[in-house]
Symmetry: C2
Subunit: 516 residues, 2 copies
């Protein structure tokens, strides 16, 4: 690979950025060198940040309260003015923005299902931003729309829809993907809804497990179905939907004169990482002729692991699936897909055939103008970074990464089992990378099990987390669930995390919690 003499020269003889402004950059005449220099300076800041991100000794965050940021910190002034700032100041602002932010790629960042910083995905995002185009038509995004087609086909094949001509679209996140699934389910049963609305409809009912994601209820509110018409089906101890309960709920609804139309099963629940029994649910959907949507936003990635994909067995019988590569597969945010088994439904449901955008009289095959399938008009390019990562890792690379997360979860489970002052929420080997547990400070061990102890235990996780945030040493999530008081939810989706970081986390929880 040749070295770039001009770049080197630029880095050596830097133009003065303290009296240069945005208006001096390209497309300004003679803005070429300044543009290059400015962007390279930004990249230097970013490279430095990337290095720090992966450095286990660096802090994850330097916490400040909202009012402190609003008031301004050491010259980091968030207020917007009428007049421009010089480029030099913008570089300082970039540095400060990162300084006061959270390093979501840090090896000890376990706070969300999306974590880690994939270098290839990052490169993909940088290129996407530079290409700055829009997914509505092939005309202006030829490569990206075809890449989306290739990716959707691959994902449908992996689900097990290889035989049929399936369909799908990338959306701005799992909640929107779930909304798509339910929207299409409703359209399939009542196509007249698109024009006539819901007023003339019977009361339609949607089922989801009590551990399902809240976006299903949110979608029901948005779509005009109403959250009262989302029935939360009881789960077993591990957080899986109980098929007999689903059946019971369906029959109950029917007896009330309501019309069940869709079950939203969960493959990888947010808190427990539970997989609903998809085959049993598919059987019930078949009998009652209900649409089966699977929210595999979190669990979808597990399909890439030959060891673990059986946990989603039955997903091939779903009518639609949500799958977020920005979660387990580590693709930078946002990257979510909704996949629909019946080709043409998405388009029929959503298309409006705007003549200013989807002209039929183009020079190419307008089937590739996929934008009218979307509930959006303009649509961000989310396909490229995933495509590039797939090229870079291969399916087996994703598999290896995901298998490692599963190993780490098993390791954490084993360590926790042995520790006296920790207690697992389920005393069974984890099915997914979620591991839920309580920490008991010594003081609590003397209080007998019961309401009083629970009240105290409930305050422990928030206090430890608050300390962690203040010190910036690790980030982990907690929540109450049902009658279980606040517990920690550990989750593995960060490629930087090693066993030592797991050990560190437990030590840190003890250090911060032992005197509470």
């Amino acid at each position: 690979m040749k070295k770039d003499a001009h770049t080197e020269d630029l880095m050596t003889n830097l133009p003065n950025l303290s009296n240069a402004y945005a208006s001096d950059l390209l497309p300004s005449k003679d803005g070429k060198d300044l543009t290059k220099c400015f962007l390279l300076q930004v990249v230097n800041i970013l490279l430095h940040y990337i290095e720090k991100t992966f450095d286990v000794k660096s802090k994850i965050l330097d916490f400040h309260h909202p009012h402190q940021l609003l008031e301004g910190l050491d010259g980091f002034d968030l207020e917007l003015s009428d007049h421009p700032e010089p480029l030099e100041q913008l570089l300082v602002d970039c540095t400060d923005t990162l300084k006061y932010g959270v390093k979501t790629g840090h090896p000890r960042y376990f706070n969300q299902l999306s974590s880690g910083l994939d270098v290839i995905g990052l490169a993909g995002e940088w290129l996407t931003a530079t290409a700055n185009t829009n997914m509505f038509t092939y005309e202006i995004a030829p490569v990206f729309t075809v890449m989306e087609t290739v990716l959707l086909k691959k994902m449908c094949d992996i689900i097990g829809w290889g035989e049929t001509e399936a369909d799908g679209i990338f959306s701005p996140g799992g909640s929107i993907s779930n909304l798509y699934g339910i929207l299409v389910a409703r359209y399939k049963k009542y196509p007249e809804i698109k024009t006539k609305g819901m007023t003339s409809l019977p009361c339609i009912i949607l089922f989801v497990s009590e551990q399902g994601h809240y976006s299903v209820k949110k979608a029901a509110a948005i779509l005009g179905i109403g959250t009262d018409h989302v029935i939360e089906v009881k789960c077993d101890e591990r957080g899986k939907m109980i098929p007999a309960e689903l059946e019971k709920n369906i029959l109950q609804a029917k007896r009330k004169g309501q019309t069940p139309f869709c079950v939203a099963a969960t493959a990888g629940s947010t808190v427990f990482g539970a997989f609903d029994p998809l085959h049993d649910i598919a059987d019930i959907c078949k009998v009652h002729r209900l649409w089966m949507h699977v929210d595999a936003a979190w669990g979808g990635g597990l399909l890439l692991s030959r060891n673990h994909s059986y946990k989603l067995s039955g997903i091939e019988r779903a009518d639609s699936v949500t799958w977020n590569p920005h979660k387990l597969m580590g693709v930078p945010l946002q990257c979510s897909a909704v996949l629909v088994r019946e080709k043409g439904l998405l388009a029929a449901c959503n298309q409006m055939r705007a003549r200013y955008l989807f002209q039929p009289d183009k020079l190419y095959n307008v089937d590739y103008d996929t934008g009218d399938k979307a509930i959006q008009c303009g649509r961000h390019v989310d396909s490229f970074k995933l495509w590039l990562m797939w090229k870079a890792k291969g399916t087996y690379g994703f598999e290896a990464q995901i298998n490692r997360y599963m190993e780490l979860a098993k390791y954490l489970y084993k360590v926790l089992k042995k520790k006296d002052n920790f207690k697992l929420v389920f005393d069974a080997e984890p099915e997914f990378t979620n591991v839920c547990f309580w920490y008991f400070p010594p003081r609590l061990k003397h209080i007998p099990k019961g309401f009083e102890r629970d009240q105290e235990l409930h305050k422990i996780a928030p206090k430890i987390k608050a300390q962690m945030i203040e010190e910036g040493t690790a980030l982990i999530s907690y929540q109450p669930c049902g009658d279980r008081v606040n517990f920690f939810r550990m989750v593995f989706s960060n490629p930087a995390t090693r066993q030592a970081d797991v050990d560190y986390l437990l030590d840190e929880i003890q250090r911060l919690g032992k005197d509470l």
Copy 2:
């Protein structure tokens, strides 16, 4: 500014990327230098592309058909494999992706309302991608959520809501922002909808001009209102909603026993750039107690121009506004905001209070956990690039840029008026940067006005456009509208465009069209 010796050294002694893989990059042990080198190589490719983008002599695109891309071009293979590709190949793939794409920042790219490549916005996107976080909570996006608050406040102030405590949120695009507006309008009138759904409701009716964006109808389909219940109000010759027609339509609906609830006015229509008379519409909304939403996705930026903002006069009386900084303000895609005058409505309408995410027992003011206002859960950071651009340009910088677009539109209008073989769709000075016109090849001049000529004229724009795409010299949009056959829509939102490019476009249309 100090030069970075290590970077220089890396650029001089490049590691071999032909037998290095993604798995060798960070977080791999010893992956630091390789990561830096790889990313710098990617940046080199991007810098080269940026340079070409602004070079008027470069082609806008190198057109290929979808099947050609799918089959693979000169080693550019889109298929995904089980095995990884070396980093060297990924760099080639990046180059090819850009090679076969469309340069949306090229001075002669006029195809969409979003065009141009803003270098500061680009830097903002690169940083956003590197920070790779999620807008749902302050906890993991402290700086970005506060920046969003600052930006929304600024935008509300500019709209003229300075006195009230207004609200808003960034969304993945104008269609979703319009959906938010209508969703909140419905919630305000019928809060019980959230739980009970629409089945128990009267037939509710929504009004939009016949030139309004199709996303309003799309939203009606999604929300369960139904497209039949979107009344398209007639426009005057310039494409503005006629208030008397709106009033008539409202009364008609009421007579039919329907319940009007919302008017979606347009400030800057997609094709003609028309501004609905907002004060007149606000008066009607007041009388009939209707929610007034203004779709200013395209026109909102004009509020920043002291010369032209009067065209949106009355917007301060709206209940909600869509405003896309990714259009006239040139922010990279995606950047769209919905603004709501009544604080608290967005949250009341959308929140589900998921306990795993929006814990009330945090150490900071959880009012800054704004995610539950959204219809999304995970949400891409769209605030930073706009914030950085505002810092870089100041409000006056945006103003100057936008005023220049207006000047260019006026220039084009004047030139077209003088040209014999072009005909303006409206023979009046443009109110916005849209300028619509037909080109008449000499052959058509001899055919008398009427059906036959129109049939021929209808084919001209698509043929010229197809040629432009094949040659890659310029990109401009066309469409039919009502009883007007296919015409070109020129639009200015690209900071790289100069008068000479406008002249070039007209010459090019003549060159490609004269023998048709």
